[in-house]
Amino acid sequence: MTVTEDAATLAPAKEVGQPRRRKEDARLITGRTTWTDNMVLPGMLHLAVVRSPVAHARITGIDVSAAQQAPNVVAVYTGRDLAEEQGSIPCAWPVTADMVNPGHPSIAVDQVNHVGEAVAIVVGRSKVAATDAVELVDVDYELLPPVLDLEEAVADGADLVHDQLESNTSYHFVFDAGEAGTGTDTEQAFADAEVVVSRRLVQQRLIPAFMEPRSVVVQPQGDNYTMWSATQVPHVLRVMAAMVTGIPEHKLRVVAPDVGGGFGGKLQVNPEEILCLLLARRLGKPVKWTETRSESLMAAHHGRGQVQFIDIAADREGNVKGLRVRLLADMGAYLRLITPGVPALGAFMFPGIYKFPAYRFECDGVFTNKVPTDAYRGAGRPEATFAVERIMDELAVELGMDPLELRRKNWIKAEEFPFTTVAGLEYDSGDYEQATQKALELLGYDELRAEQKRRRESNDPVQLGIGFSTFTEMCGLAPSRVLGSLSYGAGGWESASIRMLPTGKVEVVTGSTPHGQGHETAWSQLVADQLGVPFEDVEVLHGDTAVAPRGMDTYGSRSLVVGGTAVVKAAEKVVAKARKVAAHLLEASEDDLEFADGKFAVRGTPGASVGIQEIALAVFAAHNYPEDVEPSIDAEATFDPVNFSFPHGTHLCAMDVDTDTGMVKIRKYACVDDVGTIVNPLIVEGQIHGGLAQGIAQALYEEAVYDADGNLTTGSFVDYLVPSAADLPHFDTANTVHVAPGNPIGAKGVGEAGCIASTPAVVNAALDAVRHLGVSDILMPLTPERVWRAIHQGGDGGDRATAGTNAYGGAQTESTAGVSTPASSLGGDR
């Protein structure tokens, strides 16, 4: 054993890399914590919302008199009552200069544009009183034709969602690599190509379905307001709510207490948040609103919702020559916080890991009479990854090539990093070959291919398929200047501060507000290593704009990459400040001090040392410190990344398809992800598992379905199928590590990887199983019926019947789905 190895074993183990159990879990899992709906304030009133049961109509009258007289009802308001003060729900991402934004009232005034839109609000002394009175509000509607289908919405002569507008198109966004100077001319590339494959792919609407419903409490105190909300973005919400309501920003404090999941669904300024603020101002009393699950599915924003027309050009040898994408992106009825930006963010990810010389992207943002779409785990990138990973398989079929060979031929080689893509992004680091090799081994690829062959030859009713997805994503949102160039309304930096308490304990304040990711644990690990203090001595504070005044919150796999880096930078400043004090106390020169394991030691003078936790006390007492510094070693840092980070990975899915019934079942799932440095392997594994569950759910289970009247017939969890652990396979996961060069931690982000990568792997696997039976596409989700139809009747499986299931006696009512007319198809015995 060498001397250096000896020293290494003596030093305390590094925290970074330890599979620490999450310190926040006990309180989150048991619910013994401050979920917003647990808040009870003296004199608190309760809000219940009367929601539109029709998708598109003019409001011709609202009678609130019966509701007003109901017991324990304090007030009932309509949109007309609040019209002057409600402003518009903000849209922070005008993706083009001429984007049309019709404005988004928190409560409808003259017209409703989707089922579930607020038309009146009841304030009661109890939640029960408010809820009971909802049924007493009588609204007259003059029905307008609902606009539901994206392709019909952009056709000539289409009915209009907003009749004051000229069309249903909000914006037309174009990225052309030829024009941007990052690629050659796309039309030329296609004109010259030996092979062109074109497909129309559909990204169904999904519902974020976070575990904790949305909830908000607003407390007025004089001219100050405190808002507690189950939000991902307290900082963003504070700025936006101040701008919408005119309440000065410094008079508004927003608190996100513990928040039970969001997946992008709580990256929003919700109408109900604004309404509670307006009511608290009017009534001078605390107001609470907590949604039911039915309201959540119907009125919280949805995700995805795109029709994708994608063309790929290649030569006969399989060298890709160009990529062309045209999207119709479903905005829903209004533009919320980043509704238009989600598909535009995806624009840069369609080329994936491949070296396309030419690329053109066009997207129409289209209004429909459905609840608005917005961020949902991956936001734009899963849609892009799906399209490119699907079209690569289709090209492979066209060329008669192995899908893996085709990918390998075109992907960026390890030695080519950093690599600037045709979309103008500079991919930071990675090795696609290495991750793929590892994934093939994990899956047991060769044996499965052999089995697939046997089953095909024997005409087994259960066929086997293997699907690939070799993906990358842009994470660590985001370099502020890049966001500026994309017309986003804010920056992408993150802030952190570290407070050294007199007893040597450490408070870390992060602006990156968690909602279940485990920041408290990971940040503690980072700080324990940086400051050389025990993990247990670190507390992480977050989520309250009065405690953590600066922040950009959590989304886009940004927290560790950007927020964690801010923490590390703050810790470096603490050490630098402490060094001055240490030099003073030890009567040594700063240059002679060595900082390791939490102690400053004088080089060459054994025994002369002082710990950083002791320095915290010395600075608190402030009896003896250097003349030229202030008595504090606390520090703050803001980090603005220069580039995104680019996690990547290879996901492989083996799928059994029962050709008799169309039932698909994942036989095996293996993935190797490169997320850069791993701070906590347990958290990384957990994020991958959760992401896989959601990505697989898009492929197999979930879809927000509207009927011909615009009713959401997947209005409860009976019909909106979220899989449980019992429905998912064992996941064989592993990692490769290519450190991200753009931040000192070396992390790339892991929050969305599983969700982005898995969907195309699953669909490709199912198609691989039945391709020889003449199937080339199946719409998501791959319900057994669709798979069976595609096999036995051709086509892509077709649309599902829209009626809700009859189970539960038709778990649908006006309040879960909308109203039934002769044209609609709600389930049950109505």
Partner: protein, 285 residues
Amino acid sequence: MIPAPFQYARPTTVDEALQAIAEGGEDVKILAGGQSLIPVMRLRLAAPETVVDITRVGELRGVREDGDALVIGAMTTHHDVITDPLIAQYAPLVAEATETVADRQVRYRGTFGGALAHADPAGDLPAVALALDAEFVIAGPGGRRTVPAADFFVDYLTTALEEGELLVEIRVPKLTGQWGMRYEKFNRVAQAWSIVAVAAAVRREDGHIAEARIGLTNMGPTPLRARATEAALAGADATPEAIASAARQAAEGTSPSSDLNAQADYREHLVQVLTRRAVSAAAGL
């Protein structure tokens, strides 16, 4: 959501329960495990004036033998059904189907009688009761009456139970001879209702199928028997070909609905595949 206000009674005997029902006013609902009733009340699909909670009526729980029948108390929970030794011995099909119901939590509260009285076309137990020719013992103000399964399921969510009546127990004939059974359920996720399911009980004699009883779940507003298939199987060879051929008639006389999970023609296809599988397994193939 929050249910609309209601009156609440919690009797401890059948007689008290009948009285509470009689006195409950216009719209009385009996609360068994609450796994179907409470959700529909929360969605305000049901807003009863009075809820009569029969969870404390001890005489409605448990399984006993009575000559050539098993008697299952209406309030016997799904969990108790699954673990009951008499059911395992004489009516394993009931236990097998019950194991596919929902999840552990629901099975600890939901009851055999509640599931049958609710008569959800997607529910798993009505088709089993029908296939096994169970009898329903109903108590009312005028005393008790017994209704055969064939007459119990009347329409969508509608049974022979009249206002003021209580389902007390279900009598399941013990099957004697060489019976095999199988419940073949088709659903998309583990804790969901059946898209289609098939309950099969098959008696074999000297390499032949002597008798087959086949109940169908979610192939119409009520559970159904696959009579044409049953007839084709009576006396048939216990071979894959004979079973497959008989199973092709399984959709005869059905009227399945079209919904998010399946359109009617696909259900008609599924029921044939599932019947083939259920009968094959029950016949020991």
